[in-house]
Structure formats: C-alpha cells, structure tokens
C-alpha cells in the first residue's frame, strides 16, 4: 500500500496469481510424494518381515530379511515366473496392435477427408461412455462358443484396438502433423500409404511409444476379464495369480500376499523410473483442455 506507483505497477504486471510458493506448498507436495511411495515401501516391509513381527504393536517399519523365504512361498502357490511371462507376452502383443491400429485410424480421422467423418468420430467417443459390464455376460458366452475360454485369444483379440487409443491418436496427429507437410507430399504425388509411412509415423513415434506404454500398463493391471476367462494356473496373468494368492491365503498369511504384490508391482515401478517423465507428458498431452 505504501509502495510508490512505479513499484506498484511492477508488482501488478507480475500478477498476484503467480506469486512465489510458500513452504506450505512444498510441505503439501512432500506429503503427497511420501504418500505416493509409502504403500510400495510398506509392501516390502510386510513381505520381508515374519508374521510375528507384523502382528506386533508397534509393527516393524523397516524391511527385514525374510523376503527370500516369502518369495519361495509365493512360487509354491502360483507359478509366478510363468504368469509374468504370460502377462508380458499378452501386454506386448496388445500394445503393438493398439498403437498400429490406433495410429492408422487416428490418421484417417485427423487428416483424411471422407464422407461421414464427423459422425464416425463422435461415434468412437460415444462408445467410451458405455459401461463395460453391460456386455460382459454375452461376451463371456461368445468366448465359450469360440472355444476361447482359458485362451489368450479371448484377452488379446477384443483389445487390439480401443476407442481411447483411436481418439488419443487422432488428437496427437491433429496437433503434431502440420497440414502443409501433407499438402506438399500430396502435390509431390505421394499416396495415402506413403504419407502414413514417411510423414505420420516419424512424427508421432514418441507419442506412439507413450500410447504403447499406457496400453501395456492397462493390460498388465487388468483383472476382471482375465479372472473370468483364465482357469488353469499355467495360463494366469500376474493379476489373476495375485487374486488367487489373496483368496487362498487371505487372513492366514499377509506376508505371502504382500510378497506376491511386491513381485507383481516391482517391475512396473522399475519401468516407471525410466519412462515416468514421458508418461507425465503423455497424460498432459491427452488432457481435455479448456
């Protein structure tokens, strides 16, 4: 209030809204970062301490030495290595298929002109609103008819292209590929296929990688459908194995369940260390703005 007019003007130009950050703000962020990480840490604490240490007040808050034993106990209940392999194979196939089909459809929706385009885009978005439980029962019966029960095909084929992926790719291609580039290519006599290969693919490769990651993570973490489809332990995905561990050992041994959870989660956290930044950028790119 006592500031000279010049100073006041200066302050005004900077704007009240973007003033410096208070220690409280950093405190909040620190708490959230801690809360984000704590459950992972806790998984390992419980998994690596014996039953007696956990059921004690106050409980152990540091990792123990028992993890190897729990690890072997998990392997006795479910073939964990096998389920891990199953999950990686399924998730990779779906990720590649989704990126491929979504990029093609996204290209068509973003840059090609054809009758009914607007309606067909809206249709893609509208399908995202349908609750997936609605078709669950008949889809399961259909898989029965196809003889796809307990078969990876039942997980892979319905997931090779999703509305989310198509729409996401449409947004990305729309924003990242300049029309001038395509126009120039057209004038030079490039066909649609050529444009896709030589212009779209190189430009969107980083975003395609992010979509692939999202898809991979979604498949890795999917549980409801695999739980319904897969019956034999050698076909289990990681999440189904985890559910089995939980129902078989529930109330008896938290250490085993937590060891299994840790084993199912650690690879993703490790992956996240390397790709976390790109995932953050991907989430923000895909956000609905304004």
């Amino acid at each position: 209030m006592t500031a000279t007019p010049v100073e006041a003007k200066k302050r005004r130009r900077k704007g009240k809204y973007f003033r410096g950050l208070s220690p409280l703000s950093y405190g909040i962020l620190l708490f959230i970062a801690f809360a984000s990480f704590f459950p992972f840490y806790w998984m390992f604490v419980v998994a690596s301490n014996g039953q007696d240490v956990i059921a004690r007040v106050p409980p152990a808050i540091k990792p123990g030495h028992n993890f190897i034993n729990e690890y072997h106990a998990v392997l006795e209940v479910v073939p964990f290595g096998r389920t891990m392999l199953n999950t990686v194979v399924i998730a990779l196939i779906i990720a590649f298929a989704q990126v491929f089909f979504s990029a093609m459809a996204g290209f068509a929706f973003a840059k090609l002109s054809f009758p009914g385009r607007k309606f067909l885009v809206v249709f893609v978005v509208a399908t995202m609103m349908l609750p997936s439980q609605l078709g669950l029962v008949p889809l399961f019966m259909m898989m029965d008819k196809f003889n796809w029960i307990d078969n990876f095909k039942a997980l892979i084929v319905p997931a090779i292209v999703t509305a989310f992926g198509v729409f996401w790719m449409r947004q990305v291609i729309d924003a990242q590929v300049p029309n001038e580039l395509l126009e120039a290519a057209k004038i030079d006599g490039a066909g649609v296929m050529r444009m896709f290969r030589s212009i779209i693919v190189p430009v969107i490769l980083p975003s395609a990688f992010v979509l692939g990651l999202f898809s991979f993570l979604a498949t890795w973490n999917d549980y409801l459908w695999p739980l319904l489809i897969l019956n034999s332990p050698e076909h289990y995905t990681v999440q189904v194995a985890l559910t089995q561990l939980n129902t078989q050992a529930y109330g008896i041994d938290y250490n085993i369940v937590m060891a299994g959870s840790f084993m199912a989660t650690a690879p993703l956290v490790l992956l996240f260390v390397f790709v976390g930044r790109r995932l953050v950028a991907g989430v923000m790119d895909g956000a609905v703005k304004g």
């Binding site: 909040i28 973490n221 937590m258």
Partner: protein
Amino acid sequence: MTSTSAVDVDRSKRGRHQRERVKIKSDHPNAKKQKYDKAESRWAFLFISPFYVIFLIFGLAPIIFSVAVSFFNWNPLEEQQTFIGLQNFKDLVIDPIFWISVRNTFSIWFFSTIPQMFMAIGIASILRSPKLRGRVFWQTMLLLPNITSAIAIAVVFGQMFGRDFGIINILLSHINRGPVDWIENTLPSHIAIATMITWRWVGYNSLIFLASMNAISKDLYESADLDGASRFQQFRYVTLPQLKNTITFMVIVGTIGGLQVFAEPATLGGSYDGGTSNQFSTLTLYLFKQVAVNGTYGYAAAIGIGITVLVVIISAINFFITRRISGEGSK
C-alpha cells in the same frame, strides 16, 4: 499511454486468433461441400475399419445380446434356456443386495470423487506456479500410484486398514482414537475403499487439471489483476470457469469408473460378497458374483442393464447441473 498500448496488443492478438480460426475452418474438410477424393476415402475407411469391426463383434453385439439374455433364466449348464419375460427385472427391483450394492456404489463414488476433485485442483494450483522447483520430480511422483494394479494396492491398503495390526489404527491410537473396524463397518469400509481409489487417481487428475490450467490465457489473469481482483477472486472467476469442461469430463469418467469398482472390494473381502453383510458389495462385484459363482447369466445381464440405466440417469443429471452452473459462471 500504457492503457492504449495494452489495447493495441489485445487487438492485434485477437486479430491473429481470428485469422487462425478462419484458417482452421477452411482446412476442415467438412466446412464446405466438397467432392471427396475416392482413393483417399477408400484408404480412410480401410484405416478406420479395424476399430468398427472389433467394436461391432466384441462391443455392440454382446450389448444387444445381453438384452435378450436378460429375458431368460439362462443357465450355462443346460442345453435349453427358458424364457421368463421380465422376471429377472422383477426380481432385481426387490433384491435387497442389489439395492445395498447401489447404495454402496454411490457412497464409494461420493467419497472417492468429490474430495479427490478438490485435492486435484489444489495440487494443480501448486504445480502451475512458475517458481516451483523440482517440477518434473513432483509430477512423476504424482503419477506413480496410477501405474500399479488395483489388486496389489487393495492388498497393501487392506493390511494398513487392518483392525488389530493395521498401521492406520495404530496411528489413530496415538491421537486417542479408534480402533476403527475398517472392514466390518459400513461407512469406514467405504472410506477405506474410497481412499484406495483416491490414492490411485488423485495425481493423474491433478496432471489433467494442470494441463487445462496451463491452457488458460495469461491475459485473463493480467486483466483481472488490473481490475484489482484478489487471488481468490481470480481463482473463482477466472480459473474455475475455464476448468468447466475438464470438471464435467472428470465427473463423467469418475462416474463410469465408480460404477466399475471391483478389485478393491473383492480384495478387501477376499470374496465376491463384499463383506460379511454385503456392507461394501458394489454393483460390478454383484454382477461378477452372478456370473462366476451363481452361474445365473440372465440375472447378471439384468444387473448390467440396471447399471446402464443408472449411468444414463447420472449422465443426464450431470449434464443439466453443469449446464446450469456454467450458464451462471460465464455470465
């Protein structure tokens, strides 16, 4: 003098925006009637067809078929299925567990969506400050919970919420509260499940809010500053109205996600009952139980249709509420 130059800047900016808009319009293939390039259209249809083929077979066909199944007493073990008309729906409206599941689903949805929205907007407001240090680190930590499986998280939270040896009750005992039975009691169990969902999604939603806040023009804040608006007023009258679409989008996604809550209650209870007295049974859990445990497919299909009806009703309510709020906010 300063004021005129500000106006000039404003005008030139507006001019550029307009030009851009015009250009985009003329680029848009549907802007004017035009002849479609036949070869291009053919390629386009080829490119988009995989999605529609997959959707028709694995998305639309099952939905249509589910309506048919819901009219049958469908038993997977029998050859012939008996048509029972609306009996499944009649059973459904008087099924107490169905209504308990409806109540639980909404209660969990409320506790997981509403506080989370406030938290996410708050976190995004902190993250958008240009003076923030370590931005990438904070953003990455925020997204970390989102990559993990709901089951693993439900396992660890279930342990943390344990009655006797859970860390949360031990912490509560330090402030002379509890112990709370987070699993046997209805409301605490909903809060426990909502906590898992919030933990998993709040960072993700903060990033979405951050992205849409970053898209708000700085000019709006500058002019609000010139008008002497306080920091809170700027938030209330500039930021919040601009986030309208994001909030709507999030409520819709949150509702659809909320109706699909499954892993958390399934893991917390270790069965598909949702606790000993169904105190945290959700709609999807109940549907799943009909398929996997009871084998009553017709009834499960009827529950699926019930869920869809609820989605439609909520979306309609949501649509009207946001329309009213936005009508108020923009005027």
